[in-house]
Assembly symmetry: D2
């Protein structure tokens, strides 16, 4: 099969396309202040549009921005932009693709940010040395066309557990049920949150911090009758307090700690000894908007 | 915050929900034939519907099928069903949820199957001993409501590379471009394919085998002017030959092997020495349907 | 080949053996105090001894403690022991194997502990809800025979980075050298530490905390002429301050952030823009003891 | 703490050191034959010796071969060496470090090779296109000093399972035992093998192929009374047939498939339905030499 074949020799039609660069990792030291500051992000660029079709049909690359060039732009804009927030940096980068390459229909920029914590020393912390004492990452996705811009931000891998204040009773019991109800179980999960912003000019950093704290506090304080109920309470707390956010989706895997049966071994398990498991696990999802929105 | 709060104390409304069980791993020996046969699959169940909302608002679990019971059903249906294909097993399982629990609006069953290969012995192979000499997994997703059933199947992690027959020239060169064009590069990728079936009663197994072979053969034989062009040729080959498939989407990361610069070390790199990289990597996507479909 | 063959039909002799159970995950709530406390650990048991040889030669299991029983013991001792430290729990578990099964020559218990942090609320923190705001794990290995007990403890996956105060100059330059010297680079690493204790009755918990803090503080404060020098300074700080530790080994991968070359793109990189990399990476190792020890 | 401190201000002495470069990934096309051939390997270099101590004590890098230069040598020797086997390439590379840098006491080269399989087409296979239809990797470790060279080679991640011909009975039953004996279980494992060669001039490639086949065939054909017995039979088969190998060590995790209890669900499990598990898992190890060796 030759690369030069004409479109007509195919049986099929391209109905959707996109391409880009993933896992572009940028580390930026900002030396403009008294002490240098630092960010580390991982960027994905994805472009789409009907003008790319000839590359699929005929290998015509004349409209193709090389993914290697996309990688270069991540670093060039890393130098040009002060990276105050991943949302602002991502907006600048997405806009560049639409401005600079008129045939691009849609530009997607997805960014994940590692959250470094200053190393504690004496009664304070070190300015320029960091430890990864945060398991979660901050995330944003800029989807931009000539007509609209949508920003979705969130959190990944925020691993939490509460060892009391979680029940699960009253569910359907039928011939497929073997689970025993419990009024005191461990509830462990790994929070994934995605929220959409009311505009493109929000206070992204403080909203992120507030959302993260509220989800943690609500998870900790909520007396949970089901993972679903806690999920809703967490999302509701964010929507109630962070006015820049218009919709929030949460995904909570239920990472079960199963009571270990000590009876065959001559002991009683007083709700103290559990098997930590990774699989299988429950998954609970929900999307909320402000009532009347 | 108490779990018994009434809906009215919330600011938000649940607009979307789902929950289920992930990573349920089933290993089945079928002992009905002369020699036992074997399958290993990983199943995910996800249910959705407005009737689950009270569980989110009030922690009312009376409509909840426990995810632990879902796990039980995976094994019960593993025993009841002969598991001829993951599609047939998945259809039976999805139908069960809609039949047995009338308040369930939508049932999703996602299955990944490990592909074991009989161990070679002498001039043949062993009947009941296997080696994982297949890196890829077979996949299906059954999405079922009372009104419609959609089956999407595919392949994950089919890792391939060709060391010649791949060019990349003629792309946009501007102030962001540093990549040099090449008429002979290594093209390595990890094929992810998803296709939708024309109905629910197809010959799933032979179509899968044919699709896999065709994608491999086309990748091998295609003279590639761009990863996009090869992607299209691969999808087109499947649509041309497998009539049960109506649409196919391919995702091909471009896992670059970069020429190592030997010049500063006093040698010439005659297109022989490359750095294998994982990141950053290109990603090429495309969706095709039969022309006129 | 039958399982009942006699030893004499083999050409080879077993010169070393061991077997056991890995990835036994225990979650324990201790309800003895005013508020419940919680630990999560992953345990590995490995037994060795000449009396196990017949199991290898002839499939004679009469001396075999099933690895499933080992798993049971992890949970039984989880219930019996207060798990004040993984070292004390591990010692009790290892001793059990030697006491209870006289034919066991050597028992190894390896334990990894996840480090959970209480969730912050208002001006304090929640007692019974936790977030994994610690990327590192605490580790211990108890190696016990009837004659001796050796405890090796440590830290895994303590990821750190400093953005200034790190140089690398003066190394060998010859025909294989292309690296440019630098007096100000990012130094990122993932600390793995292993230390041996002077006895079996140490204050394991406070020594661990002190060692962790000292390694972080030294990493932060040390002006580094090489990763080796910083490694030595970190180990030395621990040996100087924690008298229960007699030897310490550190492994520091050098997780490079490479300056991105902005020149071909018409900009200057003022030591601000870096490519975060995972591979290839340096690895620096060193073992220290107290001088004169 | 300054980098310029003198050794005497430390409390400790360096008793062991090493440093090097890991995860150097080389892809080589050999264009010397009629069709190009291809290898992909991942290399680790680790050097050790007392002359490196001043780098630890004082940050004196004058004896340091930069790990970046080590990386360069991997590619330079990739160009110079025909890479007929990873053992021959590794020997050349290790020798270079000892020859070129006289102060190096010991050079370790560890290499892992991905095993690509030609893509099948029509009645044959494609010469220059490959699929990763091999889950395992080939491994070697060259340890070289001026006095001795030791080569250890092996296999990683050879995942296998047999669905019959495996028993486990007759083990110790006491108050810690809950496992039921079985005369027909699934035996799944991931073979890790390491063997030492009788010299440095062996037929590495054919010995590797023979060892791999023999381990697979023996695993398939052996009637197993215990994982230990099968391990020994596998190692013995290699030692009996491959005269260049003088010692072999095998590590076999026992990746359990647990019978799922269908009884509470009103069905009988006729040894057909299993839960595939990853953790906890057994681990069986053994080292064998030729009798009388």
């Amino acid at each position: 099969m030759s690369g030069g074949v004409k479109e007509k020799s195919f049986v099929s039609t391209l109905v959707k396309n996109s391409y880009g660069k993933s896992q572009v990792r940028l580390s930026k030291i900002n030396r403009s202040g008294k002490v240098p500051t630092w960010k580390e992000i991982t960027v994905e660029i994805e472009l789409a549009g009907p003008e790319f079709a000839d590359c699929y049909y005929e290998g015509d690359n004349s409209k193709i921005v090389a993914t290697d060039s996309m990688k270069n732009m991540v670093y060039v804009f890393g130098a040009r932009n002060d990276l105050n927030s991943i949302e602002e940096y991502g907006l600048a980068l997405a806009k560049h693709f639409l401005d600079h390459y008129k045939h691009v229909d849609e530009a997607n920029v997805r960014i994940s940010e590692d959250m470094w914590v200053p190393i504690a020393i004496d009664n304070g912390h070190h300015d320029t040395a960091f430890v990864k004492d945060r398991g979660d990452q901050r995330y944003t996705h800029i989807q931009m066309t000539s007509k609209a811009t949508k920003i979705t931000s969130g959190i990944d891998n925020l691993v939490v557990a509460k060892i009391t204040g979680s029940e699960f009773t009253g569910y359907i019991t039928d011939s497929y049920t073997t689970l025993k109800p419990t009024t005191d179980r461990i509830f462990g999960t790994k929070i994934e949150a995605r929220w959409t912003w009311k505009g493109t000019n929000c206070d992204f950093n403080s909203a992120f911090s507030k959302a993260r704290s509220l989800m943690l506090e609500t998870f900790a304080g909520h007396h949970s009758l089901s993972a679903q109920q806690t999920l809703f309470a967490m999302g509701d707390a964010v929507l109630a307090a962070v006015s820049d956010i218009e919709e929030i989706s949460l995904t909570l895997p239920n990472l079960h700690r199963l009571p270990f049966n000590l009876e065959p071994l001559g002991m009683e398990n007083k709700n103290e000894i559990f098997v930590t498991t990774s699989e299988p696990h429950g998954v609970i999802k929900g999307t909320m908007v402000v009532r009347g929105f």
